[in-house]
Amino acid sequence: MKTQEYVIRNPRKKLVPITTQVIRGFLVLLLSFLSVAWILPVLATLLTALRSFDSILTDGFLSIAGGLSFDNFVRVWNGGAYTYILNSFAITIPSLVALLILASMAGFILSRFEIPFARGILLVMLAGNLLPQQILLIPYNRMAENLGIFDTHLAVILAHVGFQMGFFTFITYNFIRQLPTEIFEAARIDGCGLWKMFYSVLLPVLRPPLAALATLGFAWIYNDLLFALALIRTQDNMPVTVGLLSLQGQFVSDYTALSASALLSAIPTVILFIVLQRQFVSGLTVGSVK
C-alpha cells in the first residue's frame, strides 16, 4: 500500500504529489548541475572577454593567469560597437512603437466589431510572420532602391513593421477579445467615437500584452540579421548584428575581442529580460495556450 505524502512546504498547486524526498533531492541535484552546464558557455565567453589575447596564447582558454580586465570591452566599444548598438536601438524602438500602435488598432477592430472575413484577415496576417525571411530579401532590396530609402534605417524599420505585424495583431486580438464588453458599451453610451474609445478606454488596459510584445519584439528586431544585411550598406548605419560580422573581420581570430563584442551586443536584451521576465513569459505563452 503506497502512502502518499503531500509536501506541505509548497502548498501551491502541483501536478503530482511526490512521494519521497529522495526524488526531489535528486531533481535538485540534477537541475543544479544542468543549470550550471547551461550557463557555462556564456561564462566561458565572459572569461575570455576579460582576459588579454597574449594570456590566451600562453595559458590557454581555461585559466585566469594574466589577470582580468575590461580592456577588451573598451577596445571593442571604441572599435565601433558603440555605433552599432545605437543603430540597433534606432531601428528597434521606432519599429516597436509603430507595431504596438498599429497592432492595437487592428486587434481592436478585428475583435470587437463585425468585420467580414475577420478570421481570414487574421490568418493572412499571421501567415506573413511565418514566411521564411529569405523570400523577402531580394524584393526588399529592390523596393528600397526604388523608393529611395536603400541604406537607411527607415527601410529596415518598414521591413520589421510589416513582418511582425501579424503576430503582434494576433496577440492583441486575443487579449482584446477577452475584455468585458461593458467597458466599450459604456464608452459608446457616453458618445465616444472610435478614436476616443481606442485612446482612452482601450490603451490603458492593454498594458499586459503590450509589455509582453514590447519585450518579445525588442528581442526579435534587435537580434535580426537578414533584413539589415539586405538593406544597409554604410558601415556607420549598421546595427549590431551586422556590425558583429564586421568586428569579426576586424579582430579576426582575436577571440578576446570577439567575445567582448558578442557579450556587449547581448547586454540590452539580457537587461530587458531580467527586468521584464514575467511579461516576456506571459507574452510567449499567450499564443500557445487556449
Partner: protein, 450 residues
C-alpha cells in the same frame, strides 16, 4: 499583379504604386534615421571642365568611396588615410565607407546597379569586374589611363580593359603567392629551401618527424585557400594555357590532366594541418606565428605581426615539370566607378590621385606585403621581402590572377569545396570529389551558356 521588367533598365519596377505606397508608409511612422550621402548635382564648372592636367575644383561635391577591409587586428582601413591626404592636398572632398568584405561581396551587385551608387568602389580585377564592364555598368576611365597611367605595365592595362578597348579599372596594388616560412625555424632545424617537388615533399616529411605541423592552413569559411594549391599544382604540371582553358570549362575535371594534379596533391596531403576544415584561414596561420608549423602557401596579404617582420621569407612553389615555364599568381586589386555616378569627373580626379605612387604606397602601408601597381615606386620604399616578391613576379613567364578571378565566382565555388575536402580527407575521397566537381562545373557552364 504584374511584374514590369524594364527593357533597358535593370530593376523590377512596381511603378507608380511605389510612390503612393511610399507616401502612405511614411505617414504612420516616426522619423527614420541617418541616410546615406545624398546625391549632389555637379556644379556647372566641374561638369564643363574637360579634366586637364590641372586639378578640378571638386570641393562642392563629395566623392563617396565604398571599400572593404579584411582587417589586420584593430587596423583602420588604409583608404581613410589616403582620402585624408587627398583632401588636404586638393581641398576636394572624399568620403570613405568601409565594410566587412563578406558584406561588401554580398551587396556588390546592388552597388553597381543602384540609382544612387557609391561613386567609386574597390574590388578585385578579374571576371566579376569585367562582367560588370561588359554590361555597361562601369564608368569609362580611359582618360585617366591615357593622362596619368601611361607608364603602367601592359599586363595591368590589359587586365583593366574591356572587350571594346576601353579601360574601366584602376589597379592600385597586387601581391604574389608563394610558400612562406620562418627562416629562424629553418635554421634551427637545418632545413634548406626546396626547389623541386621531391625536395618539397621530403622537407614536409622532415618537418613532421621533427614535431612541426608541416603545412599551416585553415579553410573554414574560406575554402578558396585550398584552391591555391590546386592552381599552383595545375600551373606547374599542365601549364598556364591548360589552366586557363580549364577555368573556361574546356576540359574535364575528371580527366587525366586533373588527375595527374591530384596525384601530386596526394603526396603532400598528409602533411597539412589536420584541423584545416575547422578553423578560419587567419586561425590557420597561428601555428606558423607560434613556430609550430613549418610553412604555408599564402598571398602577400597575410598579416605579418611586428615581431615577425624580420623573420619571414618565402620561396616559389616548387618546380614539378622542368619543361613548363614558371607561372605565378598575382591577384590585383583596384577601383572602378559606377556608370550611374553623379560625379564622374570628380571621381576620375580622385582616381587619378589613386594611380599615383604616393597614394598607392599609403594604401598598402600596413597590409602585409603588397606591391603598388604604379611602376615608378623607387626600390627603397619596399621592404626587402616585398622587393623579393616583386622580382619573384617579374621573373615569371606568365601571371594568372587566381581561380575565382580568372573564372567566375560561381565556377569557383565547387572548386573551393573540392580542394578543401581533398586537403581534409585525402585520396580516399578523390573519386567522389572529382565526379562531384565535374558535375557541378557542367551545371554552371550549362547555365551560363544559355
Amino acid at each position: 499583379m504584374s511584374l514590369v521588367i524594364k527593357k533597358r533598365g535593370t530593376t523590377i519596377n512596381s511603378g507608380k504604386a511605389a510612390g503612393a505606397i511610399a507616401l502612405l508608409s511614411s505617414l504612420s511612422l516616426l522619423a527614420g534615421c541617418a541616410t546615406a550621402t545624398t546625391p549632389e548635382t555637379p556644379t556647372s564648372s566641374a561638369a564643363n571642365n574637360s579634366g586637364s592636367a590641372s586639378a578640378l575644383d571638386c570641393s562642392a561635391e563629395t566623392v563617396s568611396i565604398q571599400t572593404w577591409n579584411v582587417g589586420a587586428s584593430g587596423a583602420e582601413d588604409p583608404m581613410n588615410a589616403v582620402a585624408e591626404n587627398y583632401i588636404a592636398a586638393t581641398g576636394n572632398l572624399v568620403e570613405v565607407n568601409s565594410v566587412n568584405v563578406e558584406v561588401f561581396r554580398s551587396q556588390l551587385p546592388t552597388y553597381v546597379s543602384s540609382n544612387n551608387p557609391p561613386d567609386g568602389l574597390k574590388w578585385l580585377a578579374g571576371s566579376t569586374s569585367r562582367g560588370f564592364a561588359e554590361e555597361g555598368l562601369l564608368l569609362d576611365v580611359s582618360d585617366v589611363w591615357s593622362e596619368h597611367m601611361a607608364d603602367f605595365p601592359a599586363g595591368l592595362k590589359a587586365l583593366s580593359t574591356d572587350s571594346t578597348g576601353k579601360q574601366y579599372f584602376i589597379p592600385t596594388n597586387y601581391y604574389w603567392w608563394a610558400v612562406f616560412y620562418r627562416p629562424s625555424v629553418f635554421e634551427e632545424n637545418g632545413y634548406s629551401v626546396p626547389t623541386t617537388w621531391d625536395d618539397f615533399v621530403g622537407l614536409a616529411q622532415q618537418m613532421e618527424s621533427d614535431g612541426l605541423t608541416p603545412i599551416a592552413i585553415g579553410t573554414s569559411g574560406a575554402e578558396w585557400v585550398a584552391t591555391a594549391w590546386f592552381d599552383y599544382l595545375n600551373l606547374r604540371i599542365n601549364g598556364a594555357q591548360f589552366h586557363r582553358e580549364l577555368l573556361e570549362g574546356k576540359h574535364s575535371f575528371n580527366g587525366p590532366e586533373v588527375r595527374e594534379v591530384f596525384e601530386k596533391f596526394a603526396e603532400i596531403q598528409p602533411y597539412f594541418d589536420p584541423n584545416s576544415a575547422g578553423q578560419e584561414w587567419q586561425a590557420g596561420l597561428q601555428p606558423l606565428y607560434n613556430k609550430q608549423a613549418g610553412m604555408t602557401l599564402m598571398g602577400g596579404f597575410l598579416p605579418i605581426p611586428e615581431e615577425m617582420a624580420n623573420d619571414i621569407d618565402f620561396f616559389a612553389f616548387p618546380t614539378i615539370d622542368p619543361s613548363i615555364p614558371r607561372v605565378e599568381e598575382a591577384p590585383t586589386d583596384g577601383f572602378f566607378a559606377s556608370a550611374n555616378t553623379d560625379s564622374p569627373e570628380c571621381t576620375k580626379e580622385f582616381f587619378a590621385y589613386l594611380a599615383t605612387a604616393e597614394a598607392q604606397l599609403k594604401f598598402i602601408e600596413n597590409s602585409g606585403a603588397q606591391i603598388a601597381a604604379n611602376p615608378s615606386v623607387p626600390d627603397d620604399y619596399y621592404s626587402e621581402l616585398t622587393r623579393k616578391g616583386r622580382d619573384h613576379l617579374a621573373g615569371a613567364a606568365d601571371i594568372t590572377q587566381f581561380y575565382d578571378r580568372d573564372s567566375s565566382q560561381e565556377f569557383a565555388t565547387p572548386a573551393n569545396a573540392a580542394n578543401a575536402r581533398f586537403i581534409a580527407q585525402g585520396e580516399a575521397a578523390l573519386e567522389e570529389i572529382l565526379s562531384e566537381w565535374q558535375a557541378a562545373a557542367e551545371r554552371v557552364l550549362a547555365e551560363q551558356g544559355n
